[in-house]
């Protein structure tokens, strides 16, 4: 069971843009190899920062509207949202420490 909640085109506004705490969004696709590497890292972050950061996942194949709106091209892409705004982005497979350092800036 993943620690990160699955978000769709229809729930993105409520779950991400209107979240009272910062949100880490993992944009992934089913047969993307590096996405499989990032997924456990994102799950760990979700547990480590529980209550401070909300962590969610968006399948870009099934939710093309959000993916297109935020100009997702390369996958995986991790985006950080705060107060309804995109504040940072990490593209590709990254180590947990890099992601944590990026995230800490917005807490």
């Amino acid at each position: 069971m993943s620690a990160a909640e699955a978000i769709t085109d229809s729930t993105f506004k409520e779950e991400v843009l209107e979240s009272p705490i910062p949100v880490l969004v993992d944009f992934w696709a089913p047969w993307c190899g590096p996405c499989r590497m990032v997924s456990p890292v994102v799950d760990k972050i979700a547990i480590q920062y529980e209550g401070q950061v909300k962590v969610v996942k968006v399948n870009t194949d099934d939710n093309p509207a959000v993916a297109s709106q935020y100009g997702i091209r390369s996958i995986p892409t991790l985006m950080i949202f705060k107060d309804g705004q995109r504040v940072d982005m990490v593209v590709g497979a990254v180590p947990e420490s890099t992601l944590a350092t990026t995230l800490e800036k917005y807490l």
Partner: protein, 120 residues
């Protein structure tokens, strides 16, 4: 618009074609698979699935507004232009020896691929 996708496996025929291509292309370009062969397996399955669905092995590590138009544009059909020109594969299928994620393999069996991708 893209058709809805599910995590379905490709046909055996396409998977074998993309598996053979991946081995041959790695050897020809002096690149290696990822140290985690599970990554390699997932990407090869993704390429084979696109070959089944779209007629070409479109890169599975990109988001496209229109997959059929992208296939016609050819830029992201594997091996993509960045790979052919600069040995850049952001999908981590073909890694140069200086990449921190590089492994030592240029071969992967059909069963190795399915062992990974049957879990999803």
């Amino acid at each position: 618009m893209n058709p809805p996708t599910e995590t379905n496996q490709a046909t055996d025929k396409s998977l074998e074609a993309m598996r053979y291509f991946s081995e041959t292309y790695a050897k020809r370009t002096g690149t290696y698979f990822c140290s985690d062969l599970g990554v390699t397996a997932v990407v090869i399955e993704g390429l084979a699935k696109h070959k089944d669905d779209l007629g070409a092995p479109l890169c599975p590590c990109r988001h496209y507004e229109d997959k059929e138009a992208e296939v016609r544009a050819t830029y992201w059909n594997c091996p993509c232009v960045p790979m052919r020109e600069r040995k850049e594969c952001h999908c981590m299928l073909f890694l140069t020896p200086d990449n921190p994620f590089v492994g030592t393999e240029q071969d992967i069996s059909f069963d190795q691929i399915r062992e990974t991708t049957s879990q999803y």
